[in-house]
């Protein structure tokens, strides 16, 4: 398992080994959805906000 830093809350995000660029993971601390932009070492960016399906 590798780790990377969450850009939202700064905590360490545990990642699986066969990571691929473009994958979306969430931060286990703040829940932010993060995009893998590099793999060795892994770098995460905030993923484009998905539209909420909460309606209004």
């Amino acid at each position: 398992m590798t780790e990377a830093e969450c850009v939202e809350c700064g905590s360490a995000v545990t990642l699986h080994d066969d990571l691929e660029i473009g994958e979306i993971v969430d931060c286990g601390t703040c829940g932010a959805e993060l995009e893998v932009v590099d793999v060795s070492p892994p770098v995460l960016e905030r993923a484009p906000e998905l539209e909420e399906d909460w309606g209004e």
């Binding site: 909460w54 309606g55 209004e56």
Partner: protein, 356 residues
């Protein structure tokens, strides 16, 4: 049930169409118009349920002899009500206005007076030439401009609850645009419309107190536009289907008494046919509650004074499907057409009632 769409017509009546008739507020419009003495419903559109009876979707309208038809083929009517998602009306506004002398739109597409505001709060506006014609529906704010209007925009439900609660304080000068007001709104699941989604499935949505718009809710735009009031707005989803309840925390500059407040609210609403003041008193129902007005076009408005914190708490409770959309739309149409204001809107609430 023997109610029939055709029965309703009378010599002095108006024909009506509901675009988006299979949705929640569209169904509510149909309920109101079917029971309205001056309207005859001649069309209700749905793409998904084309050719199905209205009762297939809305079990309370099983007695209505009407089938959904396509929004592509609009009938000529006196009044067209549009109950479609944001963006649809601005796209079709020309054909809507071709089809009807009066268009009443329930979406946000024509609510804000300035095109700029659509850039800031929404995804811009593609039919800005109609904005100048549009009148905000809420009669308590804009009654004078409704008669003869050709395009009416029903207010947002959360904005309506807030506007009704705060307007007397603004009009009476108790609160000014310099004071920040905190508005904490609680809403029911019908606000999300009929299209569903995972977060609004019954197991996930039941029993929540869920901050669904902690900040940045678009209705702030209406409050700025119509009340000239900067609001810190937060909306929570709570366990009910119908209802919107605004709790507004305001901090007047100077001292204010209960008498001042009663004066302000009575001044504002004494003659309003759809606003009840509920502020303290005894019994179980002492402040505005949405369940007491569910299914009706009524608004309960009230306040409490918190001298220790130099605070006024103002409350507004409505049914989002009625005073917050379909009822407000019919009320505004009544005013626009010179009908009795309360025509078709005399439903009384229920007591007791659960979580309507």
């Amino acid at each position: 049930m023997t109610t029939s769409a055709e029965d309703e017509g009378t010599g002095e009546g108006f024909t009506a169409a509901v675009v988006g008739g299979s949705g929640f507020t569209g169904g509510e419009l149909l309920r109101l118009l079917v029971g309205h003495p001056a309207f005859e419903v001649v069309q209700a559109t749905s793409r998904e349920y084309e050719n199905k009876t209205v009762g297939y979707v809305h079990p309370n309208l099983r007695g209505l002899n009407l089938r959904f038809s396509s929004p592509e083929e609009l009938e000529s009517v006196d009044v067209l009500f549009a109950a479609t998602p944001h963006g649809v009306s601005m796209q079709h506004i020309d054909s809507f206005r071709d089809a009807a002398g009066l268009v009443v739109d329930l979406s946000a597409d024509f609510r804000l007076p300035e095109a700029d505001a659509y850039d800031e709060w929404y995804d811009g506006h593609t039919a800005t030439e109609h904005l100048a014609d549009a009148e905000y529906a809420l009669p308590e704010l804009n009654r004078g401009n409704l008669p003869g209007a050709e395009l009416i925009a029903a207010g947002g439900c959360n904005a309506t609850a807030t506007l009704l609660a705060m307007k007397p304080l603004v009009d009476a000068g108790v609160v000014t645009g310099d004071d920040r007001v905190v508005v904490d709104v609680k809403v029911g699941s019908s606000e999300g419309g009929a299209s569903g989604g995972k977060a609004s499935s019954h197991p996930e949505r039941s029993g929540v107190v869920r901050p669904y718009a902690p900040t940045g809710h678009r209705h702030e735009a209406e409050l700025e536009a119509y009340l000239d009031l900067p609001t810190a707005f937060t909306v929570h989803a709570v366990e009910m289907v119908r209802g919107a309840s605004a709790t507004c925390h305001a901090f007047p500059d100077g001292p204010v008494t209960k008498g001042d407040l009663w004066g302000a609210y009575r001044e504002a609403y004494e003659d309003e046919p759809f606003v009840d003041l509920v502020a303290g008193g005894g019994g179980t129902y002492r402040y505005p509650e949405p369940k007491a007005v569910a299914g009706t076009n009524r608004a309960e408005v009230g306040f409490a004074l918190d001298p220790g914190n130099e605070r006024v708490v103002a409350f507004g409770a409505i049914d989002n499907m009625m005073k917050g959309s379909a009822g407000q739309a019919v009320h505004a149409a009544n005013v626009a057409l010179g009908l009795e204001e309360t025509a078709g809107l005399d439903q009384l609430g229920l007591h007791p009632v659960g979580s309507p």
